[in-house]
Point group: D2
Chain length 497, copies 4
């Protein structure tokens, strides 16, 4: 079925819906008084299915103020109280998982299977945070390391850093919110969250859930859809002690510069390479993982496998099998169980990717598969030998596009994989011990995935990028670290009677 | 002896000296080609005793370039090689300790006893770093935390972050350099250091020592005195991966905003309070520690005890004994063994403090001791009940000034201690278990010192501030953490045959 | 109500019951073929309410054999599989909590409130283990610590030690089983458990639950009531890699000597002291905690507060209030909601304690309260100034007996508290910082409880004794440590291409 | 040169020497009063070169008593004081290194190069311990994991366990003493050491050094050569809190059974296998490491490579090259710089090995090289296909003997490597990632060495065996763990005002 007819089907599926209204949350409560609304479209049909309250500057100010005031009570919660809150979220997400998955598919356009996967992962994220909430260990230090320090000992404990500003993206509307909210609850930080304006709904459902958590001090959380113009306070307001942002590099680095005295955590883009030195354990499995890495969620992931480096002795074999597999990927209605690729997040996003594909071909790349667009739908696309100067090679392509390259020598492949300003994750298929560890040491990336695509992320692993891909790490307990301030108690001659 | 006659003596001590010339270091080598020179004065006599090469924009650029090129070789050093380098520094600092102490006293004006103490502490700092250099442990993680992640395990290792930009202050010209250089060597990061223009000499002696360390890859270090106007590259150059700055808050927060993508570590000012709830173990010891905290190095320390809160039942007793002790402090020639206070770093610094003392009195504070200035000399000064709106209360006073206050209730004392935009260290004298832990939990400071002044710092402790006092921590292994990038190796089905 | 009438009521409550039969578990399965039976009495009425299969020598041999064979499959379980098993146990314990609590009260005689508390704690124990099962972290070590070791690095991982022999006591028939079983499941060790012959029922219910856990490899667990004569294989069989025993010192140390090559964990008796230096925060709370420590479960706990040292300035006040509170404790039917003390585990146990009370008085102690026995019921008893040579002072008294002493000086109180061959836990009430830390450093006990009785145990804390009170620690993750064997992978020149 | 003529040369080298007298150490002091003497022979010439005081039962009792009395003072030493002591030992060992190496060669017969290596390693061991002595970290734990535990927090600190009984072997007379003494000093435990009666001299030199360490409390250490009959107190005396033994399995397991209540650390024998699956990185290097593993110190090491499993495709090539290399090994005077093998520790030991070689051949093994003995000298011996029932295959052969086997499949090689009652260390040469990790997971050994022989030991690595090879781990910080008792301070409502 051509990409044109996919779009036609989508248009046919459009029908009038009375949009459901969603309220935002200030200081733990759904807002009752009137506000402007933001339209949220069904990304498959283009129909406006939801209307979401838009926060004003005054709303944000009020939310921050509430977060500041609630912080002492939040910090005073016992470990088991923070855990209880997190487990309530787990329970509710489990209970409402299908509903939320449907919502995710609607607001984001991601295939329902992927949406269900995201809900499952979000449950994991909150569950891991619940378990970590009772494991914030401190240290006892001997400090009498020289005669001058005789009689000194120390205790290091970690305390919540204070109110957190959270800005999250549209591609994982729930789980990338979970990766900020769950650690904050685990450590006892209040927060104000700005979900993506394109996909705010599942975050607001989380608000619904949190609203019912009675242990949460009033003011502990606010969830505020905001237009980009009004969002500046999330970056600059000095009442926040941490700004945690997931999104594009351009936005992120600009925010870092204006963040003032607060700490920043930046989870930004990628341009993930994968090196196939061996078929591990065999061709079928390798291809299956490569296809997953390249086209999962239409490539709309920071760790989307964008570049595939294949050893020359395997090149033809892998290329052939990969193309065969790509051809079989079903593009279509994301609510269908067997759909692998839904629409891009927007027609303009799809157009941008299409342009980069054209540019890549113009600059010397060869189109091996796909390349067509209709509306917001894109065919899964494979290109070969796209040169460095093309955007598709150089920048992050947030779509279902994979670039193939052949190489002779493993070290050169690593160098070429590193030839980018990004450094989030990389993949390597090899059964060679030394190449595996060489890759770990030399691939410039926060994560190196062995014998899978770079697109693997376990929600408890340290996750984050080098170079332009970001600063600091997420992954529940790693995210918690940046939300905790270390304090030392230096004790002189304590215990001497 | 009045403060006027102290200054007269200092003037008398002035004599013509042929300034010694010091060379800066680019890419491990002393620079031979001609440069402009910076004058370094003897802070006691005011005589120019040294001339120091001044780096140009091109020098800095060349130094950064060398650091970037040397980074792979630096990262490839074995643990024992990094340790060997650090132990060579320890050996040389021990061998040359009296020479360096004299130099510190000359360039900084600090009493020779304090200068010797600083050398000893610097030796500790490098020794601790040598020991930590073989203890950079990683983690092995089970990642099969849910069915979807079956067969996954991970290894987390820490790798040097890359070239580091270091900017250090004048008040501890050697040890605050050591707290940046030693961790960098321990982890395997190259660096370019800008020592304070007022006190660059001991840093350059460190350059002399490092020049002889043959294991250090060429390009690993540069030490460049720079005028403030030319120093911008230390902040903005994106080839640096970390900016570590110790100095004033005004400078530091400005640098953070312009630091681009790199990480920042900021060790800034303080306004340290001390609460005396009990005499622990007795009056004499308490007073001795309070005087040390208030007047050590003329109060030219970030953790100078600026504010002293005394329980009302002890107020008169402590105030009296404190004033008695302050009167006995000898101000004078810093090269004399029995001098407790030398000159301030400059006459203009001394004048600024004098003005704040006057302002404090004008606004309602009472002068209990000291208050006079002559040239760069200041009397140790004690004020009472200085109101919040005076700079001496509100801001950091980098001089021999202590403010006394009485309080009734411990919680109020903690609140008042927290009533500042700084949060570096605090001191509490109490023998009460609950007050001690209440203080640990509630004093807004990176460090709480129990039964000593807030001025205690062990070189291996985590050290750094909350609020406007900075971001991140130093203290060798804590400083190393920010110089290390965490990478995870996610392994799928490894070990399956 | 006198103790005699309590016993009379108990006798009246006796009625004929058809004993329920309980089967033991070999290799995950309830045993179907006929065995001899052990009678289990209702400890309140004395009526046989259950009959439990008794394992033969052949049964034990078969169970060990199954455990050995199942070990590789058990070790191969993924983290999430071990976690799933543990969470199944949590779910079932929650579902059946009231049923199990009733069973505990019946088989053990403990008041129903305490039984419910034990079930709740057991749920915690399994929950903590579930969470720890995905947190068995290893280490990556730099091993190139000197030139000779150039190119070496290491990975340390923890592997299950192998089949575990477990022997558990009667006083917490479920939670002290949980403290062995849950960690074993968390790390992946198979086990054979011998519950106490007096109170095997709740352990067998746990067997019922585990039988339904399909992820557990066949052979992973056996639960075998055994007569003492036949129990020797639990100690001596070399197929076990670890023997973990909780019970009396006499039994435990004897087992250690015959344990062969296997590791041993011994959680033995105590003789817990408590020092009251201050009333923290006040008299009421202090008394409430002291009464709880002294008489909870009729003192049938390893951390029963046996000795109470009260500062002389507080002695009369505390003694008076303590005696008042003790008088109000209700002895009676453990199934009644308001009963504080039920029967002792047996009449002979009660008689033994009675004899020690008499001996204590004969040797100079003064009886302040209680002292009477009827059947298996004992009055809560308080003695004063019992001398060292009396068993009640010297040995562990496993009953509702507290000894009072007055002291002058805190250090002497600590010395006297240490004047015992036991060292499990100690309690200290003080608001003095130095006394608190002096106690921590000097009290010879695995745990020092501050401002509560020594009887506090959190199920996640490290728990275990010094001196004759045992060897090694329990407390889920601490117990797991001894069930894990550390292996190091030393890698030479890995990653070099 | 035949083995006979080597022995002849040794006999010729014999000459009359007046034996030097060595004193033992009780309570830090060399013993002055008369004692019986033990003869120590030069293992090359057979001449008695030293006479060593022999401890009586009373001496041991006195030493233990002193250790008990000194323990509180030892525990009270500051971190830097323990470090100072250890660094004094480092300094003295460096200063006297050649003297001690000569002594080691004399008393032990090990080649002078190996003796120097042992001294260097011992220096490392003490140096690592010095660094660890200031790094005994404790933990702060949140304990409020459920409502019942509200307000609880904990501190876990490690305290010295108490007086240690140390029994060390003859094959590394200094470094295996260092691995017990250095950790004990690092944690603050007093000790009584029984060095091997055959090689007590270097341990007594260590006594000489420790005698001069003035910070050591009187009584902190005793070093007592004892005849086996009188050594029982080292095992059974209950005043010791830990028995740490390195030696044969037969002795060790017997001691464990009689050790009473104390902890035991057992470092026993091995039967180390090495699997050559690939040549890594090439034949030359592989052979060089295999020869080192098989014949270093005449195979008198617990991790001597006894069994060599070679993949059949490499078998002939490796066998040939190995035999070539073995032929070149020089047997002779251990004081010669180019000697690779000196004498065995005794003629009877050599005879025992010779018998096992004969038995191996009788039972079907094939002698490929060596096999002859003259006096205490043995030729380096290589056997092929020695069957399981021969002692040379089944038991630990403490001599220069290597058994070759060919295998087809890696997993079978691992199974065969595991087919032994020992489990100390194993070696694997492979460049395959999965085989490497399979080996790590499945080889039953405390350590798996990748791409080197099993004989590698870094003094800071965890070291110790599974199965009959021992219990617990050594390796400075790992040894320290067993010398430290964990205590928890459980604090209720601390910090509440």
């Amino acid at each position: 079925m051509g990409i044109q007819s996919v779009e036609n089907k989508a248009k046919e599926a459009s029908r009038d819906v009375t949009p459901r209204e969603y309220r935002m949350y200030i200081a733990n409560k759904a807002v009752e008084s009137p506000r402007k609304f933001l339209d949220v479209t069904n990304k498959y049909t283009g129909v406006v299915e939801a209307k979401v309250q838009l926060a004003t500057h005054q709303d944000i100010d009020q939310a921050i103020d509430a977060a500041v005031k609630a912080q002492p009570a939040m910090a005073a919660l016992g470990s088991y109280e923070r855990k209880t809150i997190l487990l309530q979220v787990v329970t509710e997400l489990k209970r409402r998982s299908e509903e939320i998955a449907q919502l995710l598919t609607m607001e984001c356009g991601k295939p329902i299977k992927d949406a269900r996967g995201e809900v499952t992962r979000s449950i994991d994220t909150f569950q891991v945070a619940a378990e970590e909430s009772t494991r914030i260990y401190g240290e006892h230090l001997p400090l009498d390391i020289s005669p001058r320090n005789k009689g000194l000992q120390g205790i290091v404990r970690k305390f919540p850093i204070g109110p957190i500003s959270m800005v999250s993206p549209w591609n994982f509307p729930l789980n990338l919110v979970a990766h900020k909210v769950a650690p904050a609850l685990a450590v006892g930080c209040t927060f104000v969250l700005k979900p993506s304006s394109r996909t705010p709904l599942s975050a607001l459902v989380l608000g619904e859930i949190l609203e019912t958590c009675e242990l949460l001090p009033k003011g502990a959380f606010s969830i505020l859809p905001v237009s980009r113009e009004d969002a500046d306070m999330f970056t600059v307001d000095e009442r926040f002690k941490l700004l945690t942002f997931t999104g594009s590099g351009m936005a992120g680095w600009g925010m870092k510069a204006r963040a003032g005295k607060k700490k920043v955590v930046m989870e930004l883009g990628g341009n993930a390479p994968c090196i196939v030195e061996d078929l591990v354990p065999d061709l079928d499995y390798t291809i299956q993982r490569l296809v997953m890495g390249g086209f999962y969620q239409g490539g709309q992931s920071c760790i989307h496998m964008q570049r595939l480096y294949i050893h020359e002795r395997l090149y033809d074999q892998v290329k052939h099998a990969f193309l065969e597999a790509v051809k079989k990927l079903k593009v279509g209605n994301p609510f269908d169980e067997d759909t692998f690729l839904g629409p891009m997040i927007s027609e303009s996003a799809a157009k941008g990717i299409e342009e980069w594909i054209h540019e890549a071909v113009e600059k010397g790349g060869k189109l091996l598969a796909g390349g067509h667009r209709s509306g917001s739908f894109l065919e899964p696309t494979v290109l070969e030998n796209v040169p460095m100067e093309a955007n598709a090679r150089k920048e992050e392509i947030f779509g279902p596009v994979v670039l193939l390259y052949s190489y002779k020598d493993f070290k050169e492949a690593v160098d070429e994989a590193n030839n980018t300003h990004y450094g989030l994750q990389s993949g390597v298929f090899t059964s060679d011990l030394n190449k595996a560890f060489y890759a770990f040491e030399h691939l410039e990336a926060g994560g190196v995935v062995l014998n899978d695509s770079p697109s693997v992320r376990v929600d408890s692993q340290p996750y984050g990028g080098l170079k332009d891909s970001g600063i600091q790490r997420e992954g529940v307990k790693y995210a918690m670290e940046d939300m905790l301030e270390h304090k030392v108690l230096v004790m002189r001659n304590v215990g001497v009677l």
